[in-house]
């Protein structure tokens, strides 16, 4: 918590501009390239671009930003490099809700995603409450180890519930399978708007707690000693994260690796200060997921790959590369 002569700890204006420009260029690239090539002079009038590609790219960018932000916040809060929406059990809980909505055909007319979205957010909340109350029963101080452990056990429970439901509703099997792999095809402007509003609200909550997260990242005791209301702040951050994950899952399914890898990559480049990390993670997550989705859309055209396959593949390789480089430069 060292202040450099009163200077702002966050990203400089220049860095913000650079990140924004990079994100916009990536977005432009992803809108211009696709399974069907559209001539440059028709870019603004083509129905494919306006109705299909643009809403999808927007949803992908917003999902990437949301998932990375959640990952960064979880890792700092729980002081655990493996923390992520998926390890905490919130993603699985949200999936379980979405799958339940599919199995029971819960839908709201004229809003095709509303049924699954409400169920996903509801179950993300429910999982959080179950995980936290179990953790509280075991350990009143809500130690991070307890939360992570219960989160993983809850994930397993939710996954087996999903398998069980897949077993008993074979006619919906493919829909459910798609759900567990993640799909952003068929995204609409409505989806993008929902994601944008959720991200704006939750990001405001999480970004304003960057110093608390810095304190948590050093240790719970440290946070308590410098006057952070540990329980309240943790609850607020966890709720923001679970809402964001619930909405992301209901729009795009569970997308692996973004939330786990992007914050690590950013941390290796910019350092562990959350005042930089959180914002930069959002930009990088958006760019990463847009590029991964671009690959998923064009590499086997006219076919399409699930984006989760690409994120896991690219994410794993990039992560290993950056990890090796950083370890080597530390030794040199």
């Amino acid at each position: 918590m060292e202040h450099k002569g009163g200077k702002k700890e966050g990203l400089s204006v220049l860095t913000y501009i650079a990140l924004s420009v990079f994100t916009l260029v990536t977005m432009l690239l992803c809108v211009c390239l696709g399974s069907v090539s559209v001539p440059p002079d028709e870019l603004l009038s083509s129905s494919i671009i306006l109705n299909v590609r643009l809403p999808r790219v927007l949803c992908v960018a917003l999902s990437g930003a949301s998932l990375s932000l959640c990952g960064a916040a979880m890792q700092g809060l729980l002081k655990n490099p493996l923390a992520d929406g998926s390890t905490l059990g919130v993603s699985s809980g949200a999936s379980l809700g979405a799958v339940l909505a599919i199995t029971l055909s819960i839908s709201i007319p004229s809003l095709p995603f509303a049924g699954t979205m409400v169920m996903a957010v509801l179950f993300a909340f429910l999982s959080l409450i179950i995980i936290l109350s179990l953790a509280y029963k075991l350990d009143c101080s809500l130690a991070t180890n307890t939360i992570i452990l219960i989160g993983i056990i809850f994930s397993m429970f939710a996954s087996s519930m999903i398998s069980l439901m897949m077993y008993f509703s074979s006619d919906r099997l493919r829909d459910i399978t798609r759900w567990t792999m993640g799909t952003l095809s068929g995204s609409s402007y409505t989806n993008a708007l929902v994601l944008l509003v959720t991200l704006a609200l939750c990001a405001a909550v999480i970004l304003s707690r960057a110093s608390e997260l810095n304190a948590f990242a050093i240790g719970e005791d440290n946070a308590r000693h410098i006057g952070v209301n540990v329980r309240r702040e943790r609850l607020i951050i966890l709720i923001a994260v679970s809402v964001l994950i619930g909405v992301c899952v209901s729009v795009g399914g569970t997308i692996a690796f973004v939330g786990l890898v992007i914050p690590h990559m950013v941390r290796l480049i910019l350092g562990p200060n959350h005042k930089k990390l959180l914002a930069a993670s959002m930009y990088c997550g958006a760019c990463f997921l847009m590029l991964a989705d671009l690959v998923a859309r064009v590499i086997v055209s006219p076919l399409e790959l699930p984006v989760g396959v690409v994120t896991s593949l690219i994410g794993a390789v990039v992560f290993v590369f950056i990890f090796f480089r950083s370890v080597r430069s530390r030794h040199a």
């Binding site: 696709g34 494919i48 299909v52 839908s107 493919r174 829909d175 095809s185 068929g186 006219p302």
Partner: protein, 298 residues
């Protein structure tokens, strides 16, 4: 010493049998299944377990539904099949359940079986017959195979003939310029289509239509942009309607970005029965007829 020679000879004979067919010369009543395995029985089978829905349909279509003593859990047509005891099929094929029903024959597909399962069934004295149709000719072979298995070859011939004439005796036929797009899974879960080598593709070409995604093999996930760019003349969805929200046809008609497509403008969107149009059963004729009516009118 003599004994040893006999044992060696017997073993050789067994090995030869093992390499070739399953004791082909033992009995007078034999059928060859769709993996070219020869199955011999004393008489036409009277106790059969059929694991795939299409084979159950064929048995009933031949008037041999009473030979079924067990069926796969997903067999649902005709209604009478529901009263036959159900067994687990596919990856969860439950050998104990099947053996407990004491069938003479188990009819299954290639996909739904493992070598171990076939061996275990053979050891229990149950013959395994593979019926695995991949195209309409395959369906004729399945019908002939099952017909000879239950001693109803004449009925099987008649069924195949009537199917063939339904496919061939049509009034109008396209010249292969109009395109049709089959949608297997709706947009909400990612678009999947049926490409070449599927029954849908074959039915379309029988009536002179070109599958818009004939360059794709089998069922595959495709890009929404491609569907719009390929601008099919007809759209067929096999999505199930669960009675809530927009029907599959209305949902397609209302999709953003699809409004300028030929099929949407002409209202040529059709919800086909997914079981009829994707199962290798005699009901492919029904699927063909409803598709034909949709394209060319009654």
């Amino acid at each position: 010493m003599k004994k040893n020679i006999i044992i060696v000879l017997l073993l050789c004979a067994l090995l030869l049998c093992g390499c070739g067919k399953n004791e082909p010369a033992q009995s007078g009543y034999t059928v060859t299944d769709m993996t070219d395995r020869v199955i011999s029985l004393d008489a036409p089978a009277t106790r059969i377990v059929a694991l795939s829905a299409s084979d159950c349909e064929i048995l009933f279509a031949l008037g041999a539904g009473d030979t079924l003593v067990g069926r796969g859990e997903y067999c649902d047509y005709p209604e009478a099949v529901e009263s036959v005891p159900s067994v687990q099929s596919g990856y969860e094929t439950n050998l104990e359940q099947i053996i407990g029903l004491e069938p003479q024959v188990v009819i299954m597909t290639k996909m739904g079986q493992t070598v171990e399962q076939v061996e275990a069934l053979s050891n229990a004295g149950i013959a395994v017959v593979v019926s695995d149709a991949q195209d309409i000719d395959g369906v004729y072979r399945s019908i002939a195979l099952i017909g000879s298995l239950v001693g109803k070859s004449a009925q099987a011939d008649a069924l195949c003939k009537s199917m063939k004439s339904s496919f061939e005796n049509i009034d109008s036929k396209g010249d292969g310029t109009e395109t049709i797009y089959f949608e297997v899974s709706p947009l909400e879960y990612g678009l999947w289509t049926a490409g070449s080598g599927t029954f849908m593709d074959e039915l379309a070409s029988l009536m002179g239509l070109k599958n818009a995604f004939s360059d794709v093999v089998g069922w595959a996930e495709i890009s929404q942009e491609q569907v719009i760019a390929r601008n099919p003349d007809y759209i067929v969805t096999i999505a199930m309607y669960y009675g809530e929200g927009a029907t599959p046809v209305d949902e397609i008609m209302a999709r953003a970005g699809w409004q300028d497509m030929t099929a949407i403008k002409n209202g040529k969107v059709f919800n086909a029965d997914s079981n009829e149009i994707s199962r290798p059963s005699p009901r492919l004729v029904n699927a063909f007829e409803s598709l034909y009516e949709f394209v060319y009118g009654a």
